[in-house]
Point group: C2
Chain length 328, copies 2
C-alpha cells in the first residue's frame, strides 16, 4: 500500500515521501482493517514534519491525525462495526496511508450518505473551536468573542458553533475580500486587521465588553486582540500562523488585567473524561452530518502526490483545506 513517511524532521516537502509499505498484518480479534478514504493536512501536521510540534513521533513515522475510512475486514470479536461501514479514524494514529488497522472500540460509525471530505476534518478543528468557546471563560448568550484567522478551519467552525449558542463573533481577517463570505457564513461582524483594530471592533460591537479573544496568529496580531478585550479579559492562543511569538503590551496585562494562555486539544484528549469526549464528538458528528459545520476545501490529492499536497497546504493566502484521498 501507499503510505506517507518521513525519516527526519525538516522542510515538509523535502522530508515527506510516499513509500510502499506492507499491508497491516493479520487482524487481532478486537481490530478492524480500514481503507483510508480521506485525511486532511492540518497545521499541526506541518509542525510535526518540521519538528516543532508539542509531541513528536519516533522516526521513521507516518504523519496524519484524523480522517474517514471504510471497514474492509473485522476481527472475530468485533460487533460495533461491519464490513462496508464508514467510520471516523482514531485520532493521532498516523492516518496518511491507504490502510490502517485499529481497535474497533475506538471507531465512530458514520452515516454512509454523509460528506466524507467534511467528516474527515471532524476530529481536530471542530473540537478545538467547540472547547475554545466552552472551556476558557464562561460565556452566555449575547456575549461577544473576537477571533483572528477567522477564515481558517477552526475560525469557520467557531462562527457556526458560536451562533448555535447565541454567542456573537467579531471576526478579524487579513483582507477585505473575506468580509462578505464570512458574513454570509454567519459572522456577526467582520473587520480587517490593522493598527486601529480595537477602535473598529468597538464600533462593530457598540462597545460591548469582550471577555474572550481567540488567537491563531501570534506576533502583533495577539497584541491587537489584547486591546480589543475588556479589562479582565482572556486571550486564548491555539496557533502561530505568523511564526512569531505572541506579544501583549504590559499596559494591557497590568492596568487592564488581561491574561494570555494557550489551548491545546491534545491536552484535552489526555485529561477529559471519556464521557465528556463522547458527548463532544457525538454533538459534532450530528452538526457535521446535518451540514451545520462545514469548512471550505481547496483541493484533494492522492497519497502519491504528498509533496504537491504539502506545498499547497503551506501556501500563503490559501482559501480552504487540503486533503489526501484514496486513489479512485
Amino acid at each position: 500500500m501507499h503510505a506517507v513517511q518521513f525519516k527526519s524532521f525538516g522542510s515538509p516537502t523535502e522530508v515527506a515521501e510516499c513509500v510502499e509499505l506492507a499491508d497491516p498484518g493479520p487482524l487481532a480479534a478486537d481490530q478492524a482493517l480500514l481503507a483510508v478514504e480521506a485525511t486532511p493536512i492540518n497545521p499541526s501536521d506541518v509542525l510535526t514534519l518540521t519538528g516543532q510540534y508539542g509531541t513528536l513521533p519516533r522516526l521513521p513515522a507516518t504523519p496524519g491525525n484524523e480522517g474517514v475510512g471504510r471497514v474492509l475486514a473485522v476481527g472475530s470479536d468485533v460487533k460495533n462495526v461491519r464490513v462496508g461501514d464508514v467510520v471516523l479514524l482514531p485520532v493521532g494514529t498516523g492516518t496518511w496511508r491507504e490502510k490502517i488497522a485499529a481497535p474497533a472500540a475506538r471507531l465512530i460509525p458514520l452515516p454512509t450518505s454523509a460528506d466524507k471530505l467534511q467528516l474527515a476534518m471532524l476530529a481536530i478543528n471542530p473540537p478545538t473551536a467547540y472547547l475554545l468557546l466552552r472551556d476558557v471563560v464562561e460565556l452566555k448568550p449575547g456575549d461577544w468573542v473576537v477571533q483572528n484567522a477567522a477564515n481558517s478551519g477552526v475560525g469557520s467552525y467557531l462562527i457556526a458553533l458560536a451562533k448555535l449558542r447565541g454567542i456573537r463573533t467579531v471576526n478579524v481577517v487579513r483582507r477585505e475580500s473575506l468580509v462578505e463570505p464570512l458574513r454570509a457564513a454567519g459572522a456577526d461582524a467582520v473587520v480587517v486587521d490593522g493598527d486601529d483594530l480595537a477602535k473598529r471592533v468597538a464600533q462593530a460591537t457598540a462597545k460591548a465588553p469582550i471577555r474572550l479573544a481567540i488567537d491563531a496568529i501570534g506576533g502583533e496580531s495577539t497584541m491587537r486582540l489584547a486591546q480589543c478585550v475588556a479589562p479582565g479579559g482572556t486571550i486564548a492562543n491555539y496557533g502561530a500562523l505568523s511564526g512569531q511569538a505572541c506579544r501583549v503590551a504590559p499596559q494591557d496585562l497590568i492596568f487592564r488585567q488581561v491574561t494570555l494562555r494557550g489551548f491545546w486539544l491534545t491536552k484535552w484528549f489526555t485529561s477529559a473524561t471519556p464521557a465528556d469526549q463522547q458527548a463532544v464528538f457525538g454533538e459534532l458528528v450530528k452538526l457535521m452530518v446535518d451540514g451545520t459545520l462545514r469548512t471550505r476545501i481547496e483541493a484533494t490529492y492522492p497519497f502519491a502526490k504528498i509533496k504537491e499536497a504539502l506545498a499547497h497546504a503551506m501556501r500563503p493566502g490559501r482559501d480552504g483545506k487540503i486533503l489526501l484521498v484514496a486513489a479512485t
Copy 2:
C-alpha cells in the same frame, strides 16, 4: 513651599518643575499637617509624567505616591498622631511637595529611630513583592520562583521576603557584576540573562519545577522566563523596563500551558479588604524597621533639583533608588 508640578504629559525632565505653592490651608478637625521628609521616584511616577500609567491625574498635578513625613500640626479631633511623630504618608496623594495635609486616620506612625529613607519606600515596592509571592500561585517552602530585574527595588525585597517564607529564588540579572552582591543579599541562585537562560536556570535549581516567574522587563526577557517555568507555570508581569511588549512563544503557551498575566498594586489597593491591607502593611513596617527589608539608595535630591533627580532616576545601569528629601 516647594512642590513639584507638571502641566502636561511628556518627557519627565521637561514637564516636571519645582514651583512655589501656598502652604496647605487651615486644618480640618480630623487632619494632620505633615512635613515631607523623604519621597522616592518610582518607575510608576515616570510613567505618570509621560502619560503612560494606568491611572492619570487631572493636570496640573503633583506626582509622588509614597514617603515619610513628620507631623507639624494636628486638627482638634486627632488622637492617633502627635506633633513630632514620624509617619508613612498616605499612598497616592502627590507626595513630591514640602508639606501635605492628610486625614490623620490614614497615617501609620513609625519609630522615630527608624531609617527614614528606607521607610519612605515602604508603600509601593515591598507590597508588590509581597503580593507577587502570595497571590499569583500558591507557593510552599522549598518551591522555586524565578525573577528578572532582580537588582531592582522590588527584586531585592522579593529575595528577602521569599527567604522568610523558605521560598527559593533564581534571580536573573543583566551583568555579571551583580551576581555576588545578590548572593550576599540572600539570593539562592543568580544567573546572567541570555539565550540559554532556561538551561542555566535548570542547572542552578537541579531541574526543580518552577511554577512562578516574575517579569518586570518585557520583550525577549519575558520569552526566556516562559522557557524557565514548568508546564502549567505562570508569568506575572508587573513592569516594562525594556519598553517592549511581553513576548511568549506559542509553543510555551500551547504545548506547555504557560500563562501570562499582569500584577497591579493599584488593583489590590482598590479591591483588598482594609483588614488585609493593614495586615500586609503591619508586617512590612516590622520587617523594614528591623532591617530585614532594605534596598540600595543611589542618591537623594532636594525638591528644587527635580530635573536632575528625574534624569538620574531614568539613567540606564543605575544601581539604587533615587529619593527627594527635605532641604536641611
